[in-house]
Structures are given as structure tokens and as C-alpha cells.
Amino acid sequence: MLESELATTFAAYAEARLPGAKNARVDSINRIHGGASRQTYSIDLAYEDATGPKVKGLILRRDPPDSLIDTERRVEFAAIKSAFGQRGIPVPEALFLETGNEALGAPFFVMGRIESGDPLNPFKLDDVEPHRAAIGEQFFRHLGSIAALPVDGSALADEIDTPAADQCWRRELDYWANEIRSNALSPQPVAEAAIRHLERNPPPPAQRLSIVHGDYRTGNYLQDGAGKITAILDWEMAHIGDPYEDLAWATDLLWCANDQERAAGLVPWPEAIAIWQEASGCTFDPAAFEWWSLFAHVKALGIWVTSEKAFANGDNDDPILAWSGWFTHAAHELMLAMRLGPKYGAGG
């Protein structure tokens, strides 16, 4: 569907769903880099209602033919609804969800546009200066706050299963191991060895069951350039599980240019852990973190081999998928080999 056609169709769709709206039109529509797992458009929707003319900024997230991550948009929509207006977590308002192809040719959802802020590139983290400490404080506070959100009664809990506390790790490991085995175009001996290592050395049960964002990291929040995080985005991998999964993913070394001194490349580790503990109500357990941190590398490999397959098959020709299948895959394979090898007597 061409963007002009998409604009016309979307205006009619939105007019039918906004209470009292008439004469709706799309004033502008721009495809933006909002994550390779959805086609993301920024839209200015003009319309009139009983109070007069209005212009509403919207974000449309539509499914592509293939994406980095095989997720249900209803889960992302429910996760955003679960966090909206809670504990000061900045998330956009979830507005419309369509799970069929009828309206716009593919499933999609619409959320309110956050009008201030840009994403930070995790590979150029120095751009955060001079606000590194302030962003870091909010980064770990929001992460802890997400972990503290109530699961029971949440929109997300209505959409997906809640695992037992001692099965969170098993479910996630099985899922990503299957992704690797189903999608890898070549043997993955390092990933396979890591999966077996994680199976033989399970983590303690989750301290609490939490809403897990699933992709919480630099690159997936907006910041206003003046030291404030204005939005937490990209909830497409959200689920219910162990909050250590998010903590480990958020601090994976890929997202902070291998900065080992500062958690997520933002604030010193003790400070980050203290903020996260206070906001989440969890107690930091190094053994649990070690497991989930290694798991984060395996999960990443699952995403990267899926990306490579989609690109190689021609299902999605976005070059970012080729980059993922090459550079980021190599980076996480290297991390796993260097961390696990010494545990088995290599290179020590």
C-alpha cells in the first residue's frame, strides 16, 4: 500500500473511531525508524469535533511481511496499556488495535505520539553527555518501576499466560533455543553449548512475577536532550516473567559499547543496582543476574539468526536485518565464547 493510499485509508479509519470526529484527513505521514519489527509511521491527523478543529499526533505500527521478532501486536498493545499512567513510567497512550488485514492490509495498532525526544544510538552513547547520570537514573528507575507493576488484573495478563516463578527461565530458554534451531542458516555450536550450560545451571526462582518489557535498552527510549527520558518504546517482546530478564538485557554489553564500568554505559553499577532495587522492590542476586546475563546473549542470537533468515529469504530486505545477522550476531557469539570458555578451562 502506497503512503498516499495508506493516509487516505487511515483517515477514514480514524474518523470512524474518534468520538464525534468528522472531516478527518492526514496532514502528514512519514515512515520512521521505529524498530525493524514493525513498519512505523508518524502521522498528523487533522479532524473536527464538537469543540472545533484538532490535530492529533499519532504513531501507527503496522506489521511488515516479516520482522526481526515474531510477536503479536495485541501483546505489545496490552503491554503499553498496562504501563500507561503507572508509576511515572513514560509510555504513549494505546489507542486502536486491529488484528486483521481488513483495515490497512496488515494488522496494526495506533498510539499517541510523544512530541518531545529522540532515541539514543547505543553505538554512540557518548551523545548522551552531559546528561549521562540523569538519563541513567531514570533508565534504571523506570526499569525497576516496570518490574513493580501489578501483573494481576493487567491488560497484559489478560492476553498471555503467567508462568510459575520457577519456570520463567525454562520457558524463555526453550523459546529462544527453538528460535535458534528453527531459523539458523548454519550450525550454532556456541549457542548450543550455551543453551546446555544454562540448562545445567538454572537460576533461582523469580523473586516476583513481573511485566517484562523484553527489549528495554538504550535505543528503545526517547530522551529530550536535556536529561529527561520522555518515552519507553518498543514493547513488542513484552511478557510476564522474571524481572532479572529485563535487567540483564538492559545492561547487555552490546548496548553500551562494551562499557564494563557503568551499567548500560550510563551510571556506575552500584548506583544502578540501588536504583533498580528501590524501584522494583527486588533484591539483587548476583547468581540470578549471571544466569540472565548469559541468557541475554542467547536470546540476542535468537533474534539475530531470525533476522538473517528473513533477509536471506527475501522476506524482508531491510539492510538492518543483514547487519543483525552479521555484526551483532558475531558480537554476541564472541561474548558467549569469552564468558563461557574460561568456565570450562579454556583460555584461563
Binding site: 515512515r31 520512521i32 525508524h33 524498530g35 525493524a36 519489527s37 526481526l68 521478532i69 532515541p119 544510538n121 547505543p122 553505538f123 554512540k124 548454519s186 550450525p187 555450536p189 556456541v190 548450543e192 553449548a193 546446555r196 545445567r200 527489549d215 535505543g219 528503545n220 518498543d234 533474534i303 539475530w304 533476522s307 531491510d318 539492510p319 538492518i320 536485518l321 543483514a322 547487519w323 543483525s324 552479521w326 555484526f327 551483532t328 558475531a330 558480537a331 557469539e333 564472541l334 558467549l336 565464547a337 569469552m338 563461557l340 570458555g341 570450562y344 578451562g345 579454556a346 583460555g347
Partner: protein, 145 residues
């Protein structure tokens, strides 16, 4: 024959420094930049690709020999990358099975060979790691998800 690595490097730099800026604001600008970055990386990887695969294959065959196993994986008929990859991948599948069997044992011999397998993984992963070219303005779109 032309220098393929040089061609990929020049084409990539052209895409990043000349084409992508002209497409700024359009979604395709990101594609041009990413394509250019990877073309430069591919140019660098091109030169060492066969050497890396040959060394991976030798490392895997050495490990299998250390285990005292015979493996029915034919040597590549040529130094074409596709042939070398096929041989490497078959050997890698065998290494996965070998390592699984070693993990079932608790003797020093098994542990020593497993350590050698891990050392091979570490060295291989290090050599596979591409070095991204430094295009400060073009890396904006290199965030995968």
C-alpha cells in the same frame, strides 16, 4: 582480475558519504547508509574469508582427531567459499555432538578436550568479529531492533 575488496570499499564509502546524505529524511536514506557500511565491511571480510574458513576447518578436524574419532566429512572439492562453508558446517555439527558427549563424562581427558573445543570457539569468534568502519554520521541507523 579487479580487486573486489577495493571495489566494495569504494562503493560502500560512496553510499555512506555521498548518497545517504542526499536521502536524509527519507526512510531509504537509512538503507543507503547501512548498505554502505556493510559494503565496506564486506570488502574487508572478502580478503580473509577463505583463509578464515580453511583455518576453522583445520581446527575442527584437529579436535575430532584428538577425540580419536573418524568423521565422514569429505574435504572441499575447491576453495570456493560455498564449498568451504559446506565442509565447515558439517564439521561443526559433528563438534556439537562431540561436545555433548564430552559433557556427559567427568574424567580429565573429556574435560581437557572440552576446554580445547571452547578455546577453538573463542578463537573462531574473535576472528569472525568484523570491525565496523568509522562513519560517525552514518551509524545512526545501525540499531537493529
Amino acid at each position: 582480475m579487479s580487486d573486489i575488496g577495493m571495489i566494495l570499499d569504494r562503493v560502500g564509502r560512496k553510499l555512506v558519504t555521498d548518497v545517504a546524505p542526499k536521502l536524509e529524511g527519507d526512510y531509504s536514506g537509512g538503507h543507503a547508509a547501512m548498505g554502505g557500511i556493510m559494503a565496506v565491511m564486506a570488502g574487508e571480510a572478502w580478503d580473509g574469508a577463505a583463509d578464515r574458513l580453511v583455518n576453522e576447518i583445520k581446527g575442527l578436524r584437529d579436535l575430532i582427531e584428538l577425540a580419536g574419532k573418524d568423521v565422514a566429512v569429505e574435504k572441499s572439492a575447491s576453495f570456493k567459499l560455498t564449498d568451504l562453508k559446506r565442509e565447515r558446517d558439517e564439521l561443526a555439527r559433528y563438534i556439537v555432538a562431540l561436545q555433548m558427549s564430552l559433557e556427559q563424562r567427568d574424567d580429565d581427558e573429556a574435560k581437557a578436550l572440552n576446554a580445547k573445543i571452547w578455546l577453538h570457539f573463542m578463537n573462531t569468534a574473535l576472528l569472525r568479529m568484523p570491525s565496523p568502519p568509522d562513519f560517525p554520521d552514518a551509524e545512526e541507523d545501525a540499531d537493529p531492533a
